[in-house]
């Protein structure tokens, strides 16, 4: 590390990179506590009024609840699907495996707007009401590849002989999964849940097309941007979301490191 940053230019590059990355986010809390409704410098005075307003807007509460509900279900479903797919990829050989895995991972690179429009057409053709359910279906589609990618590495690094040893010692396949496989891939599962949750919480395009009257948080925010005087409230909300995201990430990393330490594994990967 130190060798990397010893060079003056590299140090400058790194500093600029971080500023570029985080300065816009830093503006969120600054204007969230600024009393003027105009988002511009110089700042006027300090206020917590926007946070107070947040509490009062009922539509916002509904949007947050909808988003959390969708994100929770999406995280659970895509992680479950991810476990099945990663397990199959790691342990079984079947015809067309490469092609099937490729097709499952494809939504990772498909333009989201194309996916959203296609799904809209399909759902309308099927006569499905646009609702939280349709958003969940769309989000599961885009979150599952991420879950598979994360869980794949967890399942691939699992030594087959651990499972064989457990079978040899008298366990059946469910016992082996519950007692050996699950505890050992748990860090991957938690990681997958968190990532899928975050992606779903963030996701705008699919939710915009498929949410119907159940607006998610990003869709609600989008709607609010039409009213300039609401901007500081949006800033306040953004501040809370960013703080929560950072907290969540720290928690996830803490859990992961604790798991690694408990197992005595080498410290590799992770977010922080």
């Amino acid at each position: 590390m130190s060798a990397l940053f010893r060079g003056g230019w590299l140090r400058l590059y790194a500093a600029l990179y971080l500023v570029f990355l985080y300065l816009p986010i830093l503006l969120l809390p600054i204007f969230a506590f600024n009393s003027s409704t105009v988002i511009a410098f110089p700042l006027s005075s300090f206020t917590t009024e926007w946070f107070a307003q947040l509490v009062e807007v009922e539509a916002l509460h509904a949007a947050v609840l909808t988003s959390v509900r969708i994100a929770l279900i999406t995280a659970a479903v895509s992680t479950l699907l991810g476990i099945c797919a990663a397990r199959a990829a790691a342990r079984y050989r079947f015809p067309g495996k490469g092609g099937i895995m490729g097709l499952i991972m494809l939504p990772l690179v498909l333009p989201e707007i194309i996916v959203a429009v296609s799904l809209l057409v399909v759902f309308l053709q099927l006569g499905l009401q646009l609702s939280s359910l349709t958003v969940i279906l769309g989000h599961v589609l885009i979150c599952t590849p991420f879950s598979i990618a994360i869980l794949n590495s967890a399942f691939q690094s699992l030594d087959v002989s651990l499972e064989e040893a457990a079978i040899d010692l008298g366990e059946n396949s469910w016992g082996v999964f519950r007692l050996i496989v699950l505890p050992l891939v748990m860090p991957g599962i938690i990681s997958s849940l968190l990532i899928a949750f975050t992606i779903s919480m963030d996701e705008f395009i699919i939710a915009f097309f498929l949410s119907g009257s159940d607006a998610t948080l990003p869709v609600y925010l989008w709607g609010q941007l039409r009213f300039p005087q609401r901007l500081p409230v949006v800033m306040a909300l953004g501040t809370i979301l960013v703080s929560l995201s950072i907290l969540l990430l720290i928690l996830a990393e803490w859990a992961r490191r604790r798991g690694v330490r408990k197992r005595g594994g080498a410290e590799t990967g992770g977010f922080l």
Binding site: D159, S161, L162, E164, A165, A166, I167, D168, L169, G170, E171, N172, I180, P183, L184, K262, R263, G264, G265
Partner: protein
Amino acid sequence: MALISLQGINKYYGDYHALRDINLEIAEGEFFSLLGPSGCGKTTLLRSIAGFEMPENGVLAIDGQDMAGVGPNRRPTNMVFQSYAIFPHLTVAQNVGFGLRKSPMPRADKTRAVEEALEMVGLGGYGPRAAHALSGGQRQRVALARALILKPKVLLLDEPLSALDKKLREQMQTELRRLQRQVGITFILVTHDQEEALIMSDRIAVMFEGAIAQVDTPEGLYLRPNSRKVGEFIGMMNLLPGALRQDGAHLLADIPGLGAVALPRDFLPDGAAPGPMTFGLRPESMSVLFTSSELPTGKFVDGVVEDRAYYGDMTYYEIALQGRQAPVTCSMKNMISRPVLSRGDAIRLAWEPGALIPFAET
């Protein structure tokens, strides 16, 4: 009656014939080794006995019971894996006691059984430790205790010592042997290390390319290999091309470099005919004559030291002989009174015709 009986076992992976018509009987309480180079099918055979591989045909019986369709969790076998397969998220005691989970034994008895098993492998008091914090040697002992706690009829060991360093490996060889005598369970060991197999086993099956080449005691394999391949694989062996011919009542061997020698009539196994053949001769069956007063016990020839390897207790000499392209290897025990020869020294080499091993393949 044999504890384990294999009849006509074949295993294919696609077109690859992994096990070729394996017939084998292993007795109760025997320390049996499957020895061969990597890819010879020894691990596949072990895994077939464990139940992880299902042979396509043939009969595999343990203790008189046909094992067809019986899974590894219902066979009276337990296995020590090459990687030891210690469950990293459990403690040492939880690892060792894993197989007792489903046993109706009271909890206190289980705890005692675990502690006894740990003491048996020299890890008494290690129970509460985290399994991942153990050293390689300790992991192996935990794997042994975990497999033996279920009192299997057969313990299967898949190259259990290959990951250990030399000193530890030698120590574990003795210890495994002692453990086997103590518990009296049949051990089947897979190894590619011929020395390890010779040291530890009651009997050894040598395997090449999916087939068993020879089954014998360590002495039997070393002194009477039934093929050139086995002879070369077990210990060191000089291979000397030559010919055997009938000379009246005698057999006469003609070996370029060593000369002609008369051999007893029973030198050739039944059914073998004289003709061109390869003779095997172990390095210790030849000796360098250091002084002219030493009387040769067998035949002798003149030669020149081409190279030497000094091992402390032994020295291995490469000796060039007239009439032979490649030098022969001869081993000598080092003694205070004996000089260690150097390259270029002219010496006289004695050899024992009785130690020649005939191989029909040339």
